[in-house]
């Protein structure tokens, strides 16, 4: 397979975009590259990424068929263990750390609930620094299906920045912006965590009917996203020029989720295997997504 090994161009330095001075608060703070310790297998492009769900026991997690978007509730470990299978994506608060996976609540959907107080804090991590050269990866025109054989592809800077990246077949989407504001949503419009809205009054990542959309005009605000399919329809991706790629549905035990990373100015798409019976919250935990509580603000009162 031909790989995209184009180096960074340095021969057109006569034309460049000027970065206007802005208020310090508006400038995203880039962490040192050393603050990237736990990104799943960014350095192993040539083989399928090991399942981040290796610690999960499929037999321990009964199945459910959908997504539950119930509001946050206090942790209730005991009832949850014996509860009937959920019919949807569970957006309720996850169980306290340590209860799962062996005693995880019943759900086959992605649990997008607020993290429990006992959940370990995730240290801030930064995107790769601008100009760094990631490992070679094929482009979207070189891959028909992301899966075991082709686990990763990388869009170019134009593909990563124009129009919308459309993900079909997703039952839920999780996003994290460059300030680590994290939220999740489902096709029915339910969201949990914190939404990220762009200056164009569109969600940075959100659903439009049954499709999940990424607003590529603001790709620089996006750090990563995760898309999970729970139905029979496989995940698919389409970009502005019409190029598409699908994600392997997996097998009886494993399924693939679509993991989107922004590396500098380019988007990398990865098919990550997870246990098919993995609960929603365990998938979030595997990928270190910690939903940001949404604080509704109001204007101050004046008398």
């Amino acid at each position: 397979m031909a790989l995209n090994t184009s180096p960074t161009r340095t021969d057109v330095g006569y034309l460049r975009r000027r970065v206007k001075p802005v208020a310090a608060a508006a400038v995203p703070v880039e962490q040192p590259a050393s603050a990237l310790p736990t990104e799943p297998r960014q350095t192993e492009p040539s083989r399928p990424s090991p399942s981040p769900s290796s610690s999960m026991s499929s037999s321990s997690v009964p199945s459910s068929s959908g997504l539950s978007l119930s509001p946050s509730a206090p942790p209730a470990p005991a009832p949850a263990r014996s509860a009937a299978p959920s019919a949807g994506l569970s957006l309720s608060s996850p169980t306290p750390a340590g209860n799962e996976p062996a005693t995880a609540p019943v759900s086959t959907g992605l649990s997008l609930g607020h993290s429990s107080p006992a959940a370990p804090a995730v240290p801030p991590r930064a995107s790769a620094p601008e100009g760094s050269l990631p490992f070679p990866a094929p482009g979207i025109d070189e891959v028909r299906e992301l899966g075991d054989d082709d686990p990763v592809l990388r869009l170019n800077a134009r593909e990563s920045a124009i129009g919308s990246l459309i993900v079909t077949g997703a039952a839920s989407a999780v996003w994290e912006d460059d300030e680590l504001v994290t939220g999740a949503g489902t096709p029915d419009g339910s969201t949990t965590g914190s939404p990220v809205t762009t200056p164009g009054n569109r969600p940075l990542v959100g659903f439009d009917d049954s499709d999940a959309l990424v607003s590529l005009r603001h790709v620089r605000r996006l750090r990563r996203a995760l898309f999970v399919s729970r139905g029979t329809e496989p995940l698919g991706v389409q970009i502005f020029d019409g190029a598409t790629v699908t994600v392997s549905p997996g097998d009886e035990k494993r399924m693939f989720v679509l993991y989107l990373l922004r590396i500098g100015g380019v988007i990398e798409l990865r098919a990550e295997p997870v246990d098919r019976s993995a609960s929603d919250e365990s998938i979030l935990k595997q990928f270190s997504f910690v939903l940001t509580p949404f604080l509704v603000t109001r204007a101050s009162r004046s008398r």
Binding site: T10, K20, V27, G163, P199
Partner: protein, 180 residues
């Protein structure tokens, strides 16, 4: 300037090598999805085609010698620097377009855009030329060519354009032979 007018930049400003090309506009506020404008520079050969897909400069394809320039803010006026002394001989002109990002959730058009302009200035911000894009019925326009820098013998000139596309970036891609 008026559409089609040109101005001699280097002939009237001997020693001018570094240009600041600034873009500005206002959009009518809306509670719904708004048109989001993106400036882009396309480096063209003598036939008016882009030299390659990489000869574009916009917010996500920033080319600098050290590769360290990064997109910081998208709510302010955009600026693009041009170092005329470094432009390769095969580049005959540099076209500056502004496109409405084609988001599938209602991308919009230029009808909500007011007071759009492009200007050329020295690096110390001494303005040389300014072209205010005429406010016309732009309900079907989703890409606008604001202006272009072009070679004229040994000098560089700036031409005001103000020409709109009805076919969006796909039309731009076809005209300039680029993949978008």
């Amino acid at each position: 300037m008026i559409p089609g007018a040109n101005a001699a930049l280097t002939a009237e400003n001997p020693g001018l090598t570094q240009l600041l090309v600034g873009f500005g506009w206002e959009t009518i506020p809306s509670r719904g999805p708004q048109a989001e404008l993106v400036p882009m520079a396309i480096m063209c050969d003598a036939d008016g085609r882009s030299l390659s897909n990489d000869h574009l400069v916009f917010f996500n394809q920033i080319v600098s010698q050290d590769g360290s320039v990064s997109f910081v803010d998208d709510r302010d006026t955009e600026e693009i620097d041009v170092d005329l002394s470094l432009v390769p001989a095969e580049v005959a002109k540099i076209v500056f377009i502004v496109y409405v990002d084609p988001d599938v959730r209602g991308s919009g058009n230029f009808s909500a855009v007011r007071s759009a302009y492009v200007r050329a200035a020295t690096r110390d911000n001494r303005e040389l030329v300014r072209f205010v894009v005429p406010a016309e019925d732009n309900r079907t326009i989703n890409v606008m060519m604001f202006g272009e820098l072009y070679r004229h013998r040994d000098d560089w000139k700036f031409r005001a354009l103000g020409q709109g596309y009805l076919t969006g970036l796909r039309g731009v891609a076809a005209d300039f032979r680029i993949d978008l």
